[in-house]
Amino acid sequence: MTYRIGVDIGGTFTDFALFDEAGGRLSVHKQLTTPDDPSRAVLDGIGTLIGSAGLRLDAVEAVSHGTTLVTNALIERKGARAGMLVTAGFRDVLDMGLERRYDVFDLRLAFPDPLIARRLRREVKERLRHDGTVIEPLDLNGTRTAVTELIERERIEALAICFLHSFTNPAHEDAARRLVEAEFPALLVSTSADIFPNAREFERWTTTTMNAYVQPMAERYLARLESGLGASGFRGRLYIMTSSGGTLEASAARHYPVRMLESGPAAGALMSAHHGRTLGLAQLLSFDMGGTTAKGALVRNGAPLKAYELEVGRVHEFKRGSGLPARIPVIDMIEIGAGGGSIAEIDSRGLIRVGPRSAGARPGPACYALGGTAATLTDANLVLGYLGAGSFLGGAMALDLPAAERAIAESVATPLGLDLLRAASGIHAIVNEDVARAFRIHASERGFDYRQCSMVAFGGSGPLHALGIAKKLKVPRVVFPMGAGVMSAFGLLVSPLGFETARTKRIALSDLSPTIMAENFAPLIAQTRGFLERAEVPSDRIAIHLKLDMRYVGQGYEIEVPLPRSDDWAALTVALPALFRTEYAKTFPLGVLDEPLEILGWKAEAVGPEPSLGERLKIEAVGRAGTATLKGRRRAYFAEAGDYVDCPVYDRYALKPGETIAGPALVEERESTVVIGPHDLVQVDAALNLIAELKG
């Protein structure tokens, strides 16, 4: 008899999911986040969830945890006072950035300040050549003096050690770390070759500063959480979700807090992929839309696409290049500044735009009646009848329809000479367009054909917009899983232990031998495997995935080449050119050249077994199930009909497998509503997913 818990801390709510493996039952809970000490809500909520299931915490074998703590600390600049040691001559790398403008027309452009101010950076004498050979040995006395000064004069709590070419030879960074750990044991140390051993100093060092900046806070948080759980009788393992969709044991995660960035959305995408695999849908668009942003991910052959770069805290709305780059393994997400709280306003063209400005949770949309006057997407969805004034959040929060109408009229409709209905439906449609557009370009840049894909839609606002967006994209099928508001918590329950590392090392294919292959991968495999072995994953259950970044010699564009699972280095070495050409042709259909190849990057990922959610999942206590399937009727606007249409409103929790709903109709669950248009047909499957099939 085993139980597992998933906990996801979001900006407003902390979500909980409890899985009873024996019964295949899933129950959920939700409560307000406690920003001053987020572990309070976590411990409290776990207690509530366990209590209502009639369990004791010692029956729970694992808690998987995702949190926005790290993301928020970076965006709100609430991290620790951290110092930095850098190679002499390169203190200013963080201020110089990429020397590139993210917008060539904006003369007032600005870049985010480095997380570690210039005066908290100290230069240390040491220098490696690009091949890792030593030009100047590390000055240990200078290191000691610099750290002493940073501690005594600047009172730093954490230290980032960043030397040039350390990804090729980490000896100097390691030596500096040993000195600091021996002589200043209270200081938390991050070294750049350990954080992400990749070329390009600005990005690697910035990532390292992020790690240092949030580490003291993450340490304290995880310590509080572990001791709190222990005190409540928890004897199982605490797993922390990372950006790439794998979990780490808390003891490992505390060394790499930067890898906790965006772990909640990653868990959501993972759950989409899980649903897809269960339903036999291998190619997916995962679409998550909440209060302030929408997130998208592409799922290919059952797994979300990954990337190795993420931008944090963009200073210019959502413009690429205006944030701080984090180089870590991540699920490759699109972020769109559109959610329920997004503000509709008149842009500089004199037309309507929605977002990225958001009214947030407070004052929130005008219809929350908490003092907000801006017209938001939620206001539009209320005016259109998609949301019910009396059924929002399961009826827990009454919405003020006249306030929504007033806000839209005053800020958009009247100034633009539009009637209220056109303005409201326009706000809804513009958001659909924005999301569809973001998916299109994201897919196009990755050579991903989405037209035969299915979409999995969730989040508070996702199901309101999914069918409209799917039609724009000509996606033939949309899946609405149960529990739109707690998908990330579910995702935590299916996240395997996993750790990935990637290292830059350039080797021409002509110089490659099976021995060199084996030698380069060996330390990566040992390191990643080590994380799982320490978490007591049996060796034979650890899968190792190897990938190489390759390119034509001299070309600036690398292609990631996954290697087949094999220990036969000789066969792998021989197969490389063909493997490269196959991958190259996927992204660059015209571009196969007869030129020499080289390897740029070496990647290894160790993954444990995926926790199972069983075959027939029963979701309980997501909301109060009504007795009647039909809750009532309400007028909702549909562009196809050109007007409001009287629609049935169904209780999602009362729907039975096999039932079919013909649009126009609305299906309400606690945190969201599925909007079904006049010509759409939705079926309830055995797992209570709603599945919409769209006709050409």
């Binding site: 001559g89 020397e99 050549r129 004199g350 037309l351 564009y557 015209l590």
Partner: protein, 556 residues
Amino acid sequence: MAKSTETLDAIGLAIMWDRLVALTDEIVSTLVRTSFSTIVRESYDLTVVVVDAQGRLMAQGSISAPPFIGTAPLTMKHVLKRFPPETLAPGDVIITNDPWQGTGHLFDVNVVRPVFRKGRIAGFTLSITHLPDIGGVGFGASAAEIYHEGLRIPLRKIVSAGVLDESLLDLIRANVRVPEQVIGDVMANLTANEVGGRMLTEFMDEYGQDDLGTLSAAIRGQAERVTRERIRAMRPGRYTNRIEIEGIDAPITLACAVEIAGDGVTIDFTGTGACVPRGINVPYCYTNAMSLYSMKCLTSWDLPNNEGATAPIKVIAPEGCILNAQPPFPTGGRHSTGHFVSPLVFGAMKDAAPDLVQSDTGMIDILNFRGMRRDGGEFSTMWFSAGGFGAVNGHDGPNVTPGPSNMAVVPVEIWEDVTGTLIERKTLLADSAGAGEARGGLGQEVVFRNDTGHPLTVFSMANRTEFPPLGFHEGRDGARRAHMINGGPIHPKGQNVLAPGDRLTLRQPGGGGFGDPKRRKRDKIARDVAEGFVSREAALRDYSVVIADDLGEAAE
């Protein structure tokens, strides 16, 4: 799905406009994915535009090299003159790299394809990419005539009704150094335009548009209205400016008069010096483009690009001046002169639009390094290094930020790996920025050491060595650019050889300041001193502020 006809109100127009821009971005993405050469893929030295049947630019890819916003409409005029609609058939594609009909130098290939719908031309797509080679003397300014600079392809059909002109391809192939990459990039342009045509047709289907004319008029109308409004908010009058820039042998004068009358602007470059027998001459199309780019920064920086935003702006340059070069003057490095159109125009407009213009930027330093690595492998590669960005009223210029071009620096770790040279230091230059109420961005110093064991040839075309980035409205000038070998100054334009062990130092200029330094907020000065961007001495000299040793304490 049912076809609907979008109305062109504030919603329908917003939806279709954004969709069209995104569509051009998708064509760009296709272009990037199908290209061979690194220059397209890494530098995004390219653009894609959608024009209506009359050749009027209505949408452009959001990522675009600045000059390309202005050349496409002129290219379309030449295309339609040479190939009137009745001479075009479905499946035709037109190509040119003529500097006077394209983008000002031979390196950029322009590819145009009509989109037919119901037997009529509904619009065109046009793509431009910088080719990796075009024959001739190669990239640089050393040519004395256009004939030295490589292959010139006049406007002609490279595809006629779907049939590729193999003889033209053969001709190109025989004239360039890296034929596979060049032909690959030409083919990528053909593919991208074909994909673009398909997407445009679907777009018109989806929104119930017969052609692009109505939408084009609405988009351009809206952009023109906003632009004219913003011009009207400027102080009317005739404003002149004259600057000198470093030439090959002697300084070159650039002059302009900007006339703001009502809601229109005329920029006249009369008074500008004559062409020179080196490849730094600028055809009118590029001068026009850089003028429009500069005005866009002042009037429509937040609008997607289209011809409506540029309609109120007229650009005049007398034939034969260096900003309206005629054949056979060479134009390979036309950007090294043409980029100065921005500071020239901003300087002229500093009283007309004091809250919009930018003080001079430090601009970028472009150097070519050629030599041998320690292992004997040859290399030839470019180094880009930015000066400080110019300040704008109330807004400090960011440090080391390029403008008006936008070439990113090569990371130290990549550079050292590729070349085997060592970069000893790369640091911000304290006090290099022009002081001001808003200060300029800091410049930088980069020191290279030739560790390759072989002689290293360095070619540079540096500017801002005699004429510093200017501050506006009592803002101070930024420090000048300097190049040194082993501590001794060298000529900034030309070729030098670094012997093994020699050091090359590049000092990049700071951006110009804006407004009287005496009015700079004290907490900003204190922060600049604390961060080491401004020295205590300079704080006293330029800002008349004493910053005590304890951080943040300031007194007169």
